[in-house]
Symmetry: C2
Subunit: 206 residues, 2 copies
Amino acid sequence: MNSIITISRQYGSGGREIGEKLAKRLGVPFYDNELITRAAKESGFAEAAFENAEKKATNSLLYSIAMGMNAYGNQDIGFTHLSLDDQIYLAQSNVIRKVAMEGPCVIVGRCADYVLRDMDNVVNIFVWADLDYRRERAINHYHLQENKAEDSILKIDKRRANYYNYHASEKWGRAENYHLSIKSNYVGIDGAVQCIIHFLENGERR
Amino acid sequence: MNSIITISRQYGSGGREIGEKLAKRLGVPFYDNELITRAAKESGFAEAAFENAEKKATNSLLYSIAMGMNAYGNQDIGFTHLSLDDQIYLAQSNVIRKVAMEGPCVIVGRCADYVLRDMDNVVNIFVWADLDYRRERAINHYHLQENKAEDSILKIDKRRANYYNYHASEKWGRAENYHLSIKSNYVGIDGAVQCIIHFLENGERR
């Protein structure tokens, strides 16, 4: 397997678990919070600031205004004048590029598909699932309160979409952004891992 | 294989060919223009009118106005007062439901995923590909003129999107509408067929 695999996922769809199992099956490194930690250390930013980056992008217009940019996210000021959030995004992007250069791996979230868009051997995966399935996972795996789970899922997904739409200037969840999009509750976590491996094998054989 | 498989596809992505090969591999009927013919015969409409239905939906608002509906596509007039296009859509939908009730099959296009949304054993697939790949296929398989191919591809896709967005009130090409979305030029036509079968096997085993 020679590919860098990025995984974007709806909250509660099992995308992270799929990524982890996939990395294990392929024998390649897996990056998620680990990536954040590494980026934080290398750039000198506090880890907490990194963890908040996604949460702050409430919507791209408001976010742009807050960042002192125009509605299209353009800014022509120097790096030192970038907001903390944007500096974090740039630092994360550098780390993503660095680990991708080191060889095959699995990277979950953080717009990695967009960051690595100019590399040839990148395969982008999107994982989604029915809301009921995600609700159950959110309660059982992430211990969300039953009566608040649905609301939290929708809010977290909205944040992820806004973060992606703002930084990547693309629409999160559009089939066209990904080599493969999978409904995880149809095939299950292990089934999804299986399908991705099968897809990669078919793709790399060509 | 117990599923009804619907395939939505970008023009030139090979989605139709994938559907046909898939049906052959699974030993189930394949519906595309055949479906149109059947619907035409049963409802008494001319085949030509059916073939034009997709082309006329230039955009949902204009289309609604032309149909005498409001911007949301609501209409509370009787069937006999429906536009020809809407009558055709309803007739097509009836045929899609009928063939789906007859057993496992592959249906390409015609909003079949939306028409069959209440059935349990439906698996929806989306096939897309890079523009260069589609351009080459359009020229070699559908004999489009080289200098006009790209323009035609984009126009046909816009029509398909409008047709879907209008009739299905959903966004065409959103990963969430499909169990599986595949980039055909990564795995190839036969690779895509292979992946879909693998996906179905994993899903039905659960």
